[in-house]
């Protein structure tokens, strides 16, 4: 028995070995280097001057923009994930229903997901352009506005538009996760409930939604991680500006490193970011195991 199991384990190595090597080389080792860098003194040229303890973290915590950026990151992540789910639930329901042209609509929904995020963000950047943007053109022609608007000018407006674009990009994935969940719900259960006299809303609340929970939870956690780490939308559309007013922790880490030439301090920001994302991952593992047990 034991010998069989042992042979089985060794025999598995060639198959899981490459995956383990990739995880070690591409995930664990860079993460180790990142944490190490965050404790080192590195000058603007990229030359290392050895370990300095916590001084990078101290400098980072003195950054006058940090508190606002952390708060904004929380608002950014939660608002996008919640709104995405609220939009995806009914959209998935519609796509689950049978109607002519359903296949076309389903394919159309994939487009913003399949297109590169940089491409999508660039399109929106030009749609919203304050001088030549097509949105300004349309609103002017309809007489809804009198002057051209700088949609990406002020902090509030540009941050709102960033959130809208992020939702636009996240909805397709989430909708498909929910749609996959919907297809697993057997017709017989739904028929039985109809026979028992359940109304449409009762059926959704008591049967469909509870059965969707596993799919929805996983979709949400994956979205949390994606949105939290999201870089291209913000970078392409506002580069975190004006100033630092639309930065999240991810773009701030990039700016500290490559605009302010402080790689080590940026590593400390990235390490904190990594800590927060670890919590999300633990949460994700918990969710998926909870599903196995049930």
């Amino acid at each position: 028995m034991t010998t069989v199991r042992k042979r089985y384990r060794v025999g598995a190595l060639p198959w899981i070995g490459p995956a383990m090597a990739v995880i070690f080389l591409m995930v664990l080792y860079p993460a180790f280097e990142m944490v190490k860098t965050s404790f080192m003194s590195i000058d603007a040229t990229g030359t290392s001057h050895g370990f300095t303890g916590l001084s990078n973290y101290r400098t980072l915590f003195r950054n006058p923009n940090l508190t606002a950026v952390l708060e904004r990151t929380v608002i950014w992540t939660i608002s996008i994930v919640v709104l995405t789910v609220l939009i995806s639930l009914p959209v998935a329901q519609i796509l689950h229903a049978k109607f002519p042209g359903r296949r076309f609509v389903r394919y159309a929904l994939i487009v913003p997901w399949a297109a590169s995020v940089v491409m999508t963000s660039t399109s929106w950047l030009w749609i919203l352009n304050g001088y030549y943007g097509v949105l300004n053109r349309i609103l002017l022609s309809l007489g809804l506005i009198q002057d051209q608007k700088q949609f990406l000018g002020s902090q509030t407006q540009s941050f709102t538009w960033l959130i809208i674009v992020a939702i636009f990009v996240s909805v397709p994935f989430t909708t498909y996760v929910v749609l996959a969940g919907l297809t697993t719900i057997g017709e017989d259960i739904l028929e039985a409930s109809t026979v028992d006299g359940a109304s449409g809303w009762q059926r959704y609340k008591s049967i469909i939604f509870p059965l969707l929970r596993p799919a929805l939870l996983i979709g949400m956690v994956i979205n949390l991680i994606n949105v939290f780490n999201s870089f291209p939308i913000i970078w392409v559309m506002t580069t975190g500006g004006p100033g630092y007013s639309t930065d999240t922790t991810t773009t701030l880490a990039y700016k500290i490193s490559f605009r302010n030439a402080d790689i080590a301090q940026s590593a400390s920001m990235a390490t904190i970011n990594f800590g927060i994302i670890l919590i999300f991952i633990v949460l994700f593992l918990k969710v998926s195991r909870w599903r196995d047990d049930s």
């Binding site: 590195i42 000058d43 603007a44 040229t45 990229g46 030359t47 290392s48 400098t59 003195r62 950054n63 006058p64 304050g130 001088y131 700088q150 990406l152 000018g153 002020s154 506002t238 580069t239 500006g241 004006p242 100033g243 630092y244 007013s245 700016k255 490193s257 490559f258 605009r259 302010n260 030439a261 402080d262 790689i263």
Partner: protein, 416 residues
């Protein structure tokens, strides 16, 4: 059996490949130089062809030296060079806008070792003076630019303004007239977005006796009263609608120059190459006039001079090959090609400068240069502080000037 045959085939193929690779390597010691160069033209044009041509011709003349030139956009080059150095792949030569941080870190050859004495003697002393760290010249100026006031003659005439303003007070009055008479036209395009905010603010602050660094006290003075007053003045222009809205979001190329090219802005602080940029970007119909910058009463107008650099890193010990390569670049015929590829800049050598003085597009700027103000590029933390200024100083004009400049000052004082 079958597997062994295949294995043997692989081994022999590999051996063959290795032998062949060894076979093509020349027997005597060869040097490969790596150079990282910023791409001056941008806008879809690139200097890659020019550098490849240089490298090919240089290799033909010096078969023992191969030069590999990596051309990077201005947006990426600082990041790329820092990453290369941090990962142990230090380049031999770099062509970009700063030198003091690597000089302070002891990574550079002094200029006297990068080029021959004859080449060094040909470089204009004004520029060499701006290339020192602790009194030693550590970088070679590659070219320079200067800025002047550009204006749209037709729009100015339409507003009925016949004389260029010479003080901030007169400027405010004129911008008020433009605002009233020309609907949808911005009086002054002021790009304080990240691209070139450090230049734009330096010009305005200079016209009010302000600067970034005080050489007498050896300290950053970003939040000096003169600078705060400058930001407050610019803020008043923006609030009245005399500039484009949100100057803190307005980048030089995509916003300010584009507005000027579209005939939507009357004044702009332009660089020496703005004329050729307008021609290439749909602004050839603009009737352009140039003049000197407007300063506050009691202060002289200044121009901003910007120079970039060649630096050579000593880590790989390729001093002799570097010197050959740099002398090759500065040969008058090659240097002229470099200037053409970069597009409309002021040369840094005496020989090329003499020719440029008769170029009508360059002559007025060359005259301005002796009185130009330069960035504090010799301070080791300049590149880092420049990044902070680019990101933040626009907010001094849209937000609270004293508070924003105070934050920048704190950050600059702490920069390494």
């Amino acid at each position: 059996m079958k597997r062994m045959t295949r294995g043997a085939a692989v081994v022999s193929a590999l051996t063959l490949a290795v032998t062949m690779a060894v076979g093509v390597t020349p027997s005597h010691a060869a040097t490969t130089l790596t150079m990282i160069a910023a791409d001056y033209p941008g806008d879809g044009h690139t200097q890659q062809a020019q550098w490849t041509d240089f490298a090919t011709r240089f290799h033909a003349a010096n078969p023992d030296v191969t030069v590999n030139v990596i051309v990077k956009s201005w947006n990426d080059i600082d990041q790329y060079v820092a990453t290369q150095i941090a990962s142990g792949q230090t380049p031999d030569v770099v062509n970009k806008g700063d030198y003091s941080a690597p000089a302070a870190a002891g990574l550079l050859y002094p200029a006297s070792k990068i080029v021959s004495a004859a080449t060094l003697a040909d470089i204009l002393p004004t520029f060499l003076n701006n290339s020192k760290y602790n009194g030693v010249v550590y970088a070679l100026p590659d070219l320079a630019s200067a800025r002047a006031l550009f204006y749209n003659k037709d729009l100015l005439a339409k507003a009925g303004i016949t004389k260029l303003p010479t003080s901030w007070l007169a400027l405010t009055t004129d911008l008020g007239i433009i605002h009233r008479k020309l609907k949808g036209i911005y009086g002054y395009a002021i790009p304080l977005g990240p691209e070139e905010a450090q230049a734009e603010f330096n010009i305005w602050a200079g016209g009010n006796g302000g600067s970034y660094y005080n050489y007498a006290t050896k300290a950053w003075v970003l939040d000096s009263p003169a600078n705060i007053a400058t930001a407050t003045f610019l803020k008043s222009l923006t609030t009245k609608g005399y500039t484009e809205p949100n100057p803190d979001k307005c980048d030089r190329t995509a916003c300010a120059q584009a507005l000027f090219a579209a005939g939507k802005a009357v004044f702009i602080n332009g660089s020496v190459f703005l004329g050729s940029w307008l021609t290439a970007n749909g602004g050839s119909k603009i009737n352009v006039g140039t003049g000197s910058f407007v300063s506050n009463t009691g202060h002289k107008p200044v121009t901003l001079g910007v120079q970039d650099y060649f630096t050579a890193y000593s880590k790989n010990g390729n001093q002799a090959a570097i010197q050959k390569w740099m002398d090759f670049i500065y040969q008058p015929a090659n240097y002229a090609k470099f200037l053409v590829a970069a597009g409309g800049f002021i040369p840094a050598t005496k020989s090329a400068g003499a020719k440029a003085a008769s170029d009508p597009a360059l002559a007025p700027f060359i005259k301005l240069l002796p009185n130009a103000v330069f960035y504090p590029g010799d301070i080791a933390s300049w590149n880092s502080v420049k990044g902070q200024i680019q990101q933040g100083i626009g907010q001094a004009v849209t937000g609270d000037p004293a508070k924003v400049l105070g934050q920048l000052q704190t950050a600059a004082a702490a920069a390494k």
